[in-house]
C-alpha cells in the first residue's frame, strides 16, 4: 500500500466519522427537549428577547455557584 492509497482510506474514514458525528448530533438535538442543564433548548431564545440588565438570566451563573 503506498502513501496515496493510505491517504485515500484515511480521507474516506475521516469523512465517514464526521458524517456519523454530524448525524449523531442531529439525533441528539432532536431526540431531546432539554439539554444537559435541564433547560428546554427553545428557552435560550429568551436570552435575546429578555436582555435588559434587570431581566433574570435564563440560567444564571450565580445559581451554579450556589450548587
Amino acid at each position: 500500500m503506498n502513501i496515496a492509497e493510505l491517504q485515500a482510506y484515511g480521507y474516506f474514514a475521516l469523512t465517514a466519522i464526521l458524517v456519523v458525528v454530524l448525524y449523531g448530533y442531529i439525533y441528539h438535538l432532536y431526540s431531546k427537549r432539554e439539554d444537559a442543564n435541564g433547560h428546554d433548548y427553545e428557552e435560550y431564545s429568551n436570552i435575546a428577547l429578555k436582555d435588559d440588565i434587570t431581566d433574570a438570566p435564563v440560567s444564571a451563573i450565580s445559581d451554579d455557584k450556589e450548587k
Binding site: 454530524l22 448530533y25 427553545e42 436570552i47 435575546a48 436582555d51 431581566d55 438570566p57 451563573i61 451554579d64
Partner: protein, 498 residues
C-alpha cells in the same frame, strides 16, 4: 452615585458605529468611481494626468475592497459586538474598568490601522496579495487590534451573568478564531531586505516591501483558503450573529428553532473551511482539491439555508411587520439575499458552470448581491436598531428609511442582473470558436458588448451609495434631533419618527 442603577455602557459601540458609517461611505464611493471607470475609462484620469497615479483603477481597487471589508464590515462587527455582547451576557462594560480600557484601546488602535492602510495603499505600497495587500508592519498592528478584540470578547464572557452563551456569541467567537487563524497564516511574509537570491547572495530589497513565504501553487492555495474564508468569517458568520440577535429582538419573536441554529452553526463551521478550492478550478492545484472545493461548496447550501430559513420562519405569522416596519424589511430582504447568494455561489462552484463563470463579471455580481444585499442591509439594520437604544432617541425618519430601502433594493437588483448578463455573455464569447478551433471573438469585442451593462452596474452602485448617504443622514439626525424616548418604548420594535 452609589444607588444609580446599573446600565449597559455603549461608549465603544458608538465609536465603532461612527467608523462603520464613515468607512462605508468611503468604500462605497470608491466602488462607484471604479464602476464608472470600467464603463468610461476617461474617469481614470478624472483629476488630470498628473494625479492619474492616485485615481486609476488599479490604485483604487484595493482601497475599495479593503475599506468595505476591513473598514465598513469589521467596524459593523465590532459595533454590534460591543452592543449585543453586553446584552446577551447580561453584564455591563461599566462593571469592568479593564474591559472599558481595552475596548477604547481597541477602537483607537483600529483607527490608527485604518489611517495607515489608507495612506499606504494610496501611495501604492502593497504586497499585491488580493484582500491581503497590507505590508507587514500594518499586519502586525492588525494582529494587535485583533488580540484586543479577543480580550474584549473573552473578557466579557468571563464576567457574564448569563451562563449559556446565546447563539450570536457562538458566531462572534467563530469570527474571532477564524479570522485570527486565516490572517496569520496567509500573511506569513518576509521583508525583501532579508531575501536572498538562489545562490545565497543578498538582493538588496527594502524593509517596507515584503514577499509571501509561500510560492506558486502553494501561494494560490493558501491565498484562496484565506480569501474564501474571509468571506466566511467576515461576511457570513458575524452577519449571522447579527441577524440571530436583531431580527428576534426587533420583531419580538423567539427564534423559530434554537436547535436548528445550533445545527446550522456546526454545519457551517465544518463545511465552509474546505470550500475555498473552488476559486482555483481549472488551475494548477491538484484535481482532487478542486473537486473537494466544488463538493463542499454545494454542501454549503445546507447550513446556510438552515440559518436563513430559521430567520424567515421566525417571522411566521408576523409578516404584517414586514409591511409595517422598514427595519424588518431590511432584515428580511437581507436573509433572502443570503439565501440567494448562498445558492448562487454553489452553482458557480460546479465545474461545468465554472467553466463559463470563472474570471467573468458574474463572480463580481455574486459577491455584490451577497455584500450589498446581505452584509450591507444587515449592518445598516443593526445600526438602525441600536441607534434609539444607544442615543435614547427615536429614529429620525421612518419614511426616509423606507425610501432608502427601495432605492438600495433597486440598486442591488440593477447591479446583479447587469453582472449576470455581462458575465455569461463574457464567458460564452471567450469560449466561442469555429470548427477549426479559432477563437470567434477578440477581447475588445467583449468590451464593446459589455459597455451598456457596465453603465447599468455603475448606476446600480450609485443608487446604493445614495441610499447609504440617506442612512448616514438619518442616523446623524437621530443623534442630534430625534425625539427623546423612554426606556419602556424600547422593548421590541424601534420607535421611529414620521
Amino acid at each position: 452615585m452609589e444607588n444609580r442603577p446599573l446600565e449597559y455602557d455603549y461608549t465603544v459601540a458608538k465609536m465603532f458605529m461612527l467608523t462603520t458609517i464613515l468607512l462605508g461611505i468611503v468604500g462605497m464611493l470608491i466602488g462607484v468611481i471604479l464602476a464608472f471607470q470600467l464603463a468610461f475609462p476617461e474617469v481614470n484620469t478624472i483629476l488630470g494626468s498628473g494625479l492619474a497615479e492616485y485615481t486609476n483603477f488599479s490604485r483604487l481597487r484595493p482601497l475599495h475592497t479593503d475599506a468595505v471589508i476591513f473598514g465598513f464590515t469589521l467596524s459593523g462587527i465590532f459595533a454590534t459586538w460591543y452592543y449585543v455582547g453586553q446584552r446577551v451576557l447580561k453584564v455591563s462594560m461599566a462593571e469592568s474598568g479593564f474591559l472599558m480600557f481595552i475596548g477604547k484601546l481597541h477602537f483607537w488602535l483600529y483607527l490608527v490601522g485604518v489611517v495607515a492602510v489608507v495612506v499606504t495603499l494610496f501611495m501604492g505600497i502593497t504586497t499585491s496579495k488580493e484582500y491581503a495587500e497590507f505590508e507587514w508592519p500594518i499586519d502586525i498592528a492588525i494582529v494587535v487590534v485583533w488580540v484586543l478584540f479577543g480580550i474584549s470578547l473573552f473578557g466579557l464572557i468571563g464576567i457574564r451573568r448569563e451562563k449559556s452563551l446565546y447563539i450570536s456569541v457562538w458566531y462572534y467567537i467563530a469570527t474571532f478564531l477564524g479570522i485570527a487563524m486565516l490572517y496569520l497564516f496567509n500573511n506569513m511574509e518576509i521583508p525583501t531586505m532579508l531575501a536572498t537570491a538562489p545562490d545565497g547572495s543578498a538582493v538588496g530589497g527594502s524593509w517596507m516591501h515584503s514577499v509571501s513565504m509561500y510560492a506558486g501553487t502553494n501561494d494560490a492555495l493558501v491565498q484562496w483558503w484565506y480569501g474564501h474564508n474571509a468571506v466566511a468569517f467576515g461576511f457570513t458568520v458575524p452577519i449571522v450573529a447579527m441577524i440571530y440577535y436583531f431580527l428576534p429582538k426587533e420583531s419580538g419573536q423567539a427564534i423559530y428553532s434554537y436547535k436548528l441554529s445550533l445545527l446550522s452553526f456546526w454545519g457551517l463551521m465544518f463545511v465552509y473551511l474546505w470550500a475555498g478550492g473552488h476559486h482555483l478550478l481549472f488551475s494548477t492545484v491538484p484535481d482532487w482539491m478542486q473537486t473537494m472545493g466544488s463538493i463542499f461548496s454545494v454542501i454549503l447550501i445546507l447550513p446556510s439555508w438552515g440559518s436563513a430559513i430559521n430567520m424567515l420562519l421566525t417571522m411566521k405569522g408576523e409578516w404584517q411587520q414586514v409591511a409595517a416596519s422598514p427595519l424588518i424589511k431590511f432584515m428580511v430582504l437581507g436573509s433572502t439575499f443570503y439565501m440567494f447568494s448562498t445558492l448562487e455561489g454553489p452553482i458557480q462552484a460546479i465545474k461545468s458552470v465554472n467553466a463559463i463563470a470563472h474570471f467573468t463579471d458574474w463572480i463580481v455580481g455574486h459577491v455584490h448581491d451577497g455584500v450589498l444585499g446581505w452584509v450591507g442591509f444587515m449592518i445598516m439594520a443593526a445600526l438602525y436598531h441600536m441607534a434609539p437604544r444607544v442615543f435614547k432617541k427615536e429614529i429620525y425618519s421612518k419614511s426616509l428609511m423606507a425610501t432608502q430601502f427601495w432605492i438600495q433594493t433597486l440598486g442591488v437588483v440593477l447591479y446583479f442582473t447587469s453582472m449576470w448578463i455581462a458575465g455569461i455573455t463574457q464567458g460564452m464569447m471567450w469560449r466561442a470558436h469555429d470548427e477549426f478551433g479559432n477563437l470567434a471573438y477578440s477581447f475588445i469585442d467583449t468590451v464593446t458588448v459589455l459597455h451598456p451593462y457596465y453603465t447599468i452596474r455603475g448606476v446600480g452602485g450609485l443608487l446604493y451609495l445614495v441610499g447609504f448617504l440617506m442612512f448616514a443622514y438619518n442616523i446623524y439626525k437621530t443623534m442630534t434631533s430625534g425625539r427623546k424616548v423612554e426606556e419602556s418604548e424600547l422593548q421590541n420594535a424601534s420607535p421611529m419618527g414620521a
